[in-house]
């Protein structure tokens, strides 16, 4: 995204005209990008002055100081009951409504997950010789695999040479 696009988005954010997902992403970026943050503050400043004719000199120190105090506070781990709540341990937090949007999923802690196969599990773990597995791959599974390879780089894993898996992927076996 060019700087211009980014600043235009900032302008939209200020006016509440940006989608929820874009807003969240941009706000997170503001937190980590000093140039963007300064721009945001100047836009806010102009807006406040135009609206009310005056403004308090709020700057980065404000957030920094609040953050410093809160750093010493315990983290809150008290998800409130949600409107569409399914079960206590189940929280699927749908964040926003488009592709490439990050939604945080906090499932139940699976630290102590022990695989108890439900009735729906058609086949239990079937660790076979790799060559044998390849031959058993149906076209649909191959399609899934290629799609996974193709899209996984969206996740931005550093240094993976994302297409290496694709180019060496052998569909004939």
């Amino acid at each position: 995204m060019s700087d211009d696009d980014l600043r235009q988005k900032l302008s939209l954010l200020l006016d509440g005209e940006l989608s929820e997902s874009d807003s969240l992403a941009l706000m997170a970026r503001i937190e980590s990008d000093a140039t963007l943050r300064r721009q945001w503050h100047r836009y806010r400043l102009v807006s406040e002055v135009m609206r009310s004719g005056k403004v308090l000199p709020v700057d980065d120190r404000f957030v920094d100081q609040v953050r410093a105090t809160i750093a010493n506070e315990p983290a809150i781990l008290a998800p409130r009951p949600e409107k569409h709540r399914y079960r206590e341990k189940a929280v699927t937090a749908a964040l926003a409504a488009s592709l490439a949007v990050v939604a945080v999923l906090v499932g139940k802690s699976v630290k102590d997950y022990s695989p108890v196969p439900g009735p729906e599990v058609l086949a239990q773990t079937e660790l076979v010789d790799p060559d044998e597995v390849r031959s058993a791959l149906d076209p649909q599974f191959q399609d899934y695999l290629v799609t996974h390879y193709e899209t996984a780089y969206l996740a931005g894993a550093p240094g993976l040479l994302p297409y290496a898996r694709l180019v060496t992927y052998d569909s004939s076996r």
């Binding site: 509440g16 403004v55 709020v58």
Partner: protein, 190 residues
């Protein structure tokens, strides 16, 4: 839309993500500071109290059930904090929470005594001058667009209707206006 955004951020904080709270603070710091500045005229003191309000809000978040919008809830905490601060300063410490109606009565009572501080006035006046100057220099359509947004509080859709142009044009006009003002502001702020 803004409420959903806040809801999501609050949910994240409630799941232990403190960085989401930073975003909320940054989002509302101006509004809360301005609000408190209406009761507490000293800008430094007002900023301190504004910070205190956010910290109180953080501590109270586990019990925030989302029955009201986050900002309404935060607004109430800010007013309570300002009231308590004034009461403490007057050596009449009061830890009692006040209800929102009471707070609003209090708000209007205090506003009568509202005064500008020299510092705040100087900065605001200088800024206002620069902004006015920049506005005057803007091409007509940019000035109209930004004015309808900032002075009249119209949404982009409404501005598009008023100016009889597509929303995309409104978007770009407002952005270009902000950019032009920002150029002047950068000079002032160094």
């Amino acid at each position: 839309m803004g409420e959903q955004l806040d809801e999501e951020l609050v949910r994240r904080v409630q799941r232990g993500d403190k960085t989401a709270f930073d975003i909320l603070v940054r989002k509302y710091q101006y509004k809360i500071a301005q609000l408190i500045n209406r009761y507490i005229k000293d800008p430094h003191e007002a900023l301190d109290v504004a910070q205190e309000s956010f910290i109180k809000a953080y501590r109270a978040l586990p019990s925030f059930r989302g029955e009201s919008a986050f900002y309404t809830w935060l607004y109430r905490i800010a007013i309570n904090t300002a009231k308590n601060h004034i009461a403490m300063r007057a050596r009449r410490p009061s830890e009692d929470e006040i209800e929102i109606e009471e707070a609003e009565q209090f708000e209007s009572a205090v506003r009568l005594k509202d005064q500008e501080t020299p510092e705040g006035v100087v900065l605001s006046e200088e800024l206002a001058r620069v902004i006015q100057f920049a506005l005057d220099e803007l091409p007509e359509e940019l000035r109209t667009a930004i004015s309808l947004r900032e002075f009249d509080g119209l949404s982009y859709d409404e501005i598009a209707q008023v100016m009889n142009c597509p929303v995309g044009t409104v978007r770009s006009r407002i952005f270009r206006a902000r950019e032009a003002i920002d150029k002047k502001l950068k000079v002032l702020l160094g």
